[in-house]
């Protein structure tokens, strides 16, 4: 392989890594923005588990409820997939999903470059594995 070709490949890989880091940074920023808008972690402090049941869905603010109900229907999804259903921007859904993660209602798992969100119904691992097997 020629030197210019090797340099080209190496810079492409560095750029890819930078992009991934920027994506992660962007997601963290979105969470911080959401938290500053809607207050700090609302995770229950009364000893009860953070369960995304219908009564919890009812108590969520409208914008988060739409995201949470959509995720319940999809079982596991990326912010893009949720945005497809809600017809809102991906960045908006990403912010809402991350806020639901911080509230303890939704779990997040990174697979390669994609972040998957899901509602933990069974013993966590099993449900994710099942969801991945189907996808």
């Amino acid at each position: 392989m020629t030197l210019p070709r090797r340099l080209e490949q190496s810079s492409a890989s560095i750029l890819q890594k930078i992009k991934e880091c920027l994506d992660q940074l962007n997601e963290k920023m979105e969470v911080m923005i959401e938290l500053s808008k809607h207050g700090q972690r609302a995770s229950s402090q009364d000893g009860l588990p953070d369960v995304l049941d219908v009564m919890t869905l009812l108590s969520l603010p409208d914008h988060l409820r739409k995201t949470a109900v959509t995720l319940c229907k999809l079982e596991q999804a990326t912010a893009d997939e949720v945005a497809d259903q809600t017809k809102r921007a991906r960045a908006v859904e990403s912010g809402y999903l991350n806020q639901l993660v911080l509230m303890g209602y939704v779990k997040k798992e990174r697979r390669g470059r994609k972040a998957y969100f899901f509602v933990e119904r069974e013993s966590g691992e099993k449900e994710v594995t099942k969801a991945w097997a189907r996808s």
Partner: protein, 258 residues
């Protein structure tokens, strides 16, 4: 694409079960594939009406994660329809099962929501059913709200009693609107005199329009002969020419336009 329809009400005794059964049988008699599920775990009714023997699995078992939905369904096509498919899933009517279902915690209710939501895949996509009808408990019960969230369309049944109208109004504002569900209102057991008088009918319609921010699907009169049968007869199958079934036929058409 098939539809999941929840039949719900604020108060008990509004006629949810009668409407659910006959709507399901009506669809089946039109040649559709229909599944009726009893989600009223506090007062299960379908077992007493359909008298199904040798029930191995109940809807309770499906929600408990004990079995898949196919194991719960009983095929009543032979006895209850001349054309389509008519499947039912029964709620366990034993006192022990009712007690157990009323003592479930939030975590269980969350799992139950997941299992109800997945019926869209198993019953509509895989089994290719045209209609799935959920008959629910009245009021703001976990099982009923789970059913509403899991369905495509909700039918709210109300009587003309003021406590029913006010309660239903509040329930629509504080529950249905929050879930942005396609919803239609059915007024049931309306006095025949009210419906036959043009001015009284118009007054009632106006009052309902002012109370509810919902499309009024139908006003069904109170039929003494139906009450007399005491739930022993499925009119849509045994007496399809009955005016009640003719009215339900209009309900079925309106559902498509919601």
């Amino acid at each position: 694409m098939g539809k999941i329809i929840t039949v719900h009400s604020y108060k008990g005794g509004t006629g949810k079960t009668l409407l659910s059964i006959n709507l399901a049988a009506l669809y089946a008699n039109k040649g559709k594939s229909v599944c009726l599920l009893d989600l009223d775990f506090r007062a299960p009714s379908l077992q007493a009406i359909f008298k199904v023997r040798d029930v191995e699995y109940w809807v309770n078992d499906y929600l408990n994660g004990v079995c898949e939905i196919k194991k719960v369904l009983k095929d009543l096509s032979q006895t209850h329809t001349k054309r389509g498919h008519f499947l039912v899933g029964l709620a366990n009517p034993s006192t022990e099962a009712i007690r157990e279902m009323t003592a479930k915690d939030r975590k269980w209710e969350m799992k139950a929501l997941g299992r109800l939501l997945s019926l869209k895949t198993s019953l509509i996509n895989d089994m290719q059913l045209d209609y799935v009808i959920f008959d629910t408990s009245p009021g703001l019960q976990y099982s009923s709200i789970n059913a509403i969230v899991s369905s495509d369309i909700a039918l709210v049944v109300s009587g003309t009693d003021i406590s029913d109208i006010k309660g239903t109004q509040r329930m629509i504002e504080e529950l249905y609107e929050l879930f942005e569900k396609k919803t239609g209102l059915i007024m049931n057991k309306v006095l025949a005199e009210v419906l036959s008088s043009k001015s009284e009918r118009a007054d009632l319609t106006k009052q309902l329009m002012n109370s509810y921010n919902l499309p009024l699907i139908e006003m069904i009169p109170c039929f003494c002969d139906i009450l007399k049968e005491g739930g022993t007869k499925v009119f849509a199958t045994e007496n399809p020419e009955h005016p009640f079934i003719k009215t339900l036929d209009q309900v079925a058409t309106s559902i498509e336009n919601l």
